[in-house]
Symmetry: D4
Subunit: 220 residues, 8 copies
């Protein structure tokens, strides 16, 4: 077939292969989906439009569609999870919501607790400071911001856990589709910040979950 599903990945990396839905046909998605479910693995499909999702749900009603996040997911078995830690998902403005939710749902499907801190951008810094104490208790923060992308620098200066910065393509003009926020985050003068691709909410969450698992003392 056209795709070699990497079933070995769960053993090697602690999670089965995640499906990147963008640019895949419904046929391609459902073929890979069936292969993954056949191995009793959890399913996570990112970047699935509402339209595509509805067609897939007809034949796979057991999946859940998260519409803001544009994610389809399914858990092989209900885990009993009793963790104390959590990942903070922080975003600057309403326009970053889709990416913030992509991160939040990804983290939840991969088994971590999540707390959301939304619309706390630096132009009104008091909104962030009001919640700083709770954010400090997270095992990792995923900070999602577009336009000038300054939020991770401020968060990075307030907490002692790792911050994963996710630039978004929100903005216009000299924003250059997220380049501005990306460069901001790479040049942050705060320590403890690392960066993933523009709009890669999935990737931001994936890194945070790896860290959260280490903090909870479990391994793959």
């Amino acid at each position: 077939g056209f795709a070699k599903v990497d079933h070995h990945r769960k053993k090697r990396q602690g999670f089965p292969e995640v499906i990147y839905g963008e640019g895949k046909t419904i046929e391609q998605i459902t073929a890979i989906l069936r292969a993954i479910k056949a191995k009793q693995n959890d399913v996570l499909i990112t970047r699935v439009s509402q339209d595509k999702a509805e067609v897939i749900l007809e034949s796979h009603p057991e999946l859940t569609y998260h519409d803001i996040a544009q994610i389809l997911s399914w858990k092989a078995k209900e885990k009993k999870e009793n963790k104390e830690g959590f990942i903070a998902i922080i975003c600057a403005g309403t326009s970053d919501l889709r990416i913030a939710e992509e991160a939040a749902i990804t983290a939840e499907v991969l088994g971590s607790n999540v707390r959301r801190f939304y619309d706390v951008g630096v132009a009104g810094i008091h909104r962030l400071l009001d919640q700083a104490q709770m954010i400090q208790e997270a095992t990792a923060s995923v900070v999602v911001a577009g336009m000038e992308g300054a939020l991770p620098s401020v968060v990075g200066g307030l907490v002692s856990h790792p911050v994963i910065a996710v630039p978004t393509s929100v903005g216009y003009g000299a924003n250059f589709q997220g380049l501005s926020a990306l460069l901001t985050m790479l040049n942050s003068c705060a320590s403890g910040i690392s960066v993933v691709n523009i709009d890669n909410g999935f990737g931001g969450a994936y890194n945070a979950v790896l860290i959260d698992r280490l903090a909870q003392g479990k391994e793959k």
Copy 2:
């Protein structure tokens, strides 16, 4: 000669021509300098290295050299100035000092009061917040920052006067000689921020002085 000194400028714009020293020979600088002094105008020469300045000072001991700012200046007559307002010059880190001082000295030579707020970058936000109240009383702020350049966004959210943002070329790698800070400032989600060229401390101050004069109710 090689240069047409724009003596008319003082009438048209409220200040005589300022000399941009970079790339000019000592002969060119002193020629223009003499032409300006001959009209009883104030002298402001930016971007003069220590070496060049020392030679010029030998023949023009009445000038003052500001070494961090790399500025040579001279006032035609001692003005009695009794103003209440001031311009806040704010900078993120020690490395931005040269540009911050270029702004501060420019503003002072052009006749404004200045207060300096240095090393208050966003990675330790409390340092800025501690001084926010005093900054709010300025008629304009010039905010100088390199690396990710996030400081103007935070200042812009705290004050109600115009903020002139000056990106600096301080940084390395994906900083691209100040491009990162420049884009950050152009994309700021705070209102009331406008931007000048990378490392243009002079330009930042010049704009602030125009505003300060309007606020003091005087015109050219």
Copy 3:
């Protein structure tokens, strides 16, 4: 909810929060709109397409839609304003009209007087020179230009008040969606020019209004 309206902003910054309409759903806009009106604050919503505006006007007929500017506005109470000063809104060509009007309407809604000087681009410099005297009387100029964006440099050399330059994305080829005009403005050899983001007519006007208020001797 999804958004934290920053009601505190009016006190802190002199104006209530302005809504950036682009990319927001009608539901999101009307929700924020209601929250702002509930506090008896003025309403300013930028980047609202004709289609969206018509739907919003059905439930909010008290708003005014400015179609070229693509702005929805509402004033909490009719102010008696008797000011002498004005802001000059200057634009280079017919194609820059939308951004010029975004600036003009923003300035008017925020309480400043405005005079428009349109289609006076540098390729026919006499058109600008004919009006130079009146422009010189403004407290600030907002200069809107696309393609090569040379207009602010020429205006900056003619006036003694602050010039806010707004590059537009008008042009093609090596214009790179406004990058050409943006760089031109940042590199202007005239003093007293600062720059906002490409197509940011709102931001240009906002800065000019802050200056105009200082010049009128009022504060927030």
Copy 4:
């Protein structure tokens, strides 16, 4: 003084302020150094050239200079550390050595165990595969690579812990001073990879140490 040492940082972030030596004078460095030592804090100064280091060592012989890493360090007291975990520092070629060592020494000074896996670039993939099993046991990997920067993608596909990718400016031509490696790492199709600035070995290690501490079950 010119600098506001952020003594509060140790409490807030688990480590005292690190000094970025580049562009600082010997006087500035020793002033900050004395302030940090006065608080009984550990000292870490990055980007110190051999020349500068020698002068500083004359007055501060208690410091250690790591010449490849270009780091000066000093530990306030000898800690008894008996940890099991380690951070893997992996680099592609001999030319990346300086950055790899900046990461390794940083991690060691900040209290983590380090294992070095050097000169294992993808053009001879067997060199990496031979060591894959040992690398998998790390709590985090810092992967340093210039030129095309492909190494983190391959490592990311082999391990289940977080990978911090550090692009270097090693290369020429279409490398554009590290841009090529940076983009490669941001676009990695492997999951669990986040990226820091070009040549930022310090930043890569700092993130890894935060993760390692969480994995060891300790907090600041």
Copy 5:
């Protein structure tokens, strides 16, 4: 007419002119097509959408349409080919399929044997290593990859024949429409790799066929 078909090319270069279908009207394509067939030359038309192809096939049913590759082809006479060598077409992921097939079909129409090695990206390196031995037997490899484009470097380190790298525009954000993969391939630290334009599957194959013909000992 509007086009000068370069009939001389077959003699000069060993193949008749290939038609680049993108941006040409159906009328333009069929006119050129008729001119080529009139000379008893083989036909190869790349970048023909399904829609266009269907219209052309109505009047030219002797052509074959390859839908994934988006190629229309026709062989002037059935050649007896009894070659031993083959070209390896290798691709990283499902999303690169269109370009990989453009390469594969091009090579086949131009008279080479092809073996396909698909979905063997570096994030699961074992998939490539499993097939390395067979790939080593090719006369040339065409390696097609998007996102970070690391695959050619790994292949280049495993084989002793020339590798033609084809970057694709698959990816998002800091991928910049294939720029990331392009730079990766140009900076490869493996030897024996040369690069063609982004998404240029045709060009990759054309180079490989020239090499394959030399290896088979035949010339134009």
Copy 6:
């Protein structure tokens, strides 16, 4: 030898080969120089530093060195020229002098009359307008400008002959070594402007001379 002097060029193009001195050794320059003089052709060598020139003049005292222009020249025979037309060489500021003189001397050596209009940048537009009438009488203008490069647009709107725009690398920060001025000139909204490479004073003049010769009614 290493170079194939294109002696045929004079017949084909109306001028013998011009030597681009940059990056050539003194030996290479004198070898080419001798070959050109042997054919009784005029000599024009651009981009020759003072140091290099002095060495060459020792063995070739018949050459003239133009120090600002950094050009070495020699005329095979003194022509009687009695032309009416002239080329206007216009430049924005003192810093553009070297390039303006490269253009002026090139034009003169190639046989055209030249008038210089220097330091007439747009920030003080009256300086240009004062001379507009005389400039209009030229057969072509070469307009040299750095920083924002707006001058050609204004000149282009004032004259009816062709304008050749020469961007210079004068500036800093967002000037990006002349990119800003280059883009400005390419996007000019005035008609009748064409552009040559950054700092290419020679090329600007060469084009103007071709036009001037056509206007004088002579051909090669």
Copy 7:
């Protein structure tokens, strides 16, 4: 009104104002058109789509629409023109036709003779060489090329008149919408080449016409 038609331009520049149709509404175009015709001036409107043209032609049937060039034109009075000279319009491939025709029609409407040399790109250099002799007789060449844009360099080496190079946005991938061809032309190692904006066939022709008029010995 919204536009200040620059009627003075014909006197100042030799041609009345040309209308750039892109982005203008039918109402805006017809308003300007009427103003120009009222002065008995020639009409030239570029970048008018077939759809827009048809509507305009309904009310202005005296205009002519050139569909490949996308130009609407009208001549105030039939001139008797008896010129000998001509402009060569040269293009590389079929895809550059629209821009080549924009140039050709513009030149004809502005009163020059034109000869077309199409589809003579450098990949089959004999096609150009076959016509070199005739091209050499032109007063100026407009050379239109996309992709790598190498054609002007070759033409520039063959002729002794000025060459205006017009890069087009034809191409894909590393072409970056015409940037590749633009840079090629700016860096041409042939002399006598100047460049206009990407896809600016109008501008290329306008420059050539100015030159052609000088060569014919007439002035505005």
Copy 8:
């Protein structure tokens, strides 16, 4: 040690590891050199400055230094080679000599015959056409060109063997250190051209040698 010499490479790839001298110390170079010689392998060290070479030659007088190419080489045993084929090394101008020679010497050390065709750039196309027939007989061409980099397109249209294009950083201004030539070559409208990194003469030759060996019917 710091480096893992990849001795296995000769078996895997047909040639032993080549040393990239740039940025390596004399100690590092001689250490690797000794390791390679110990295995009786040929030695090829690129990018060695005259200064470095002289020191190395003192202890290794058996090496040969090629000064234009900046290469050190040594052959383990004198091979009897009696081949008919050859590689054409073609370059545009004198300034590209260093890179052309890097290619030529590399090809010779790796065992191929080489013919040099230098200074045949497109601005005087007859120089290339004069030699076209001999070039056509090569098994592969390496075409080295800076500035606009048009030469490979013209060569590619004349020959039927593979062309490896090597862009050089020769040029200034909008050349952007070789970017212009690189883009030209990637966008070539001629088929059968592939590209290596800017200034990578070594890489161009390496690819050509692999092809030449296939054409000679030998394998590693």
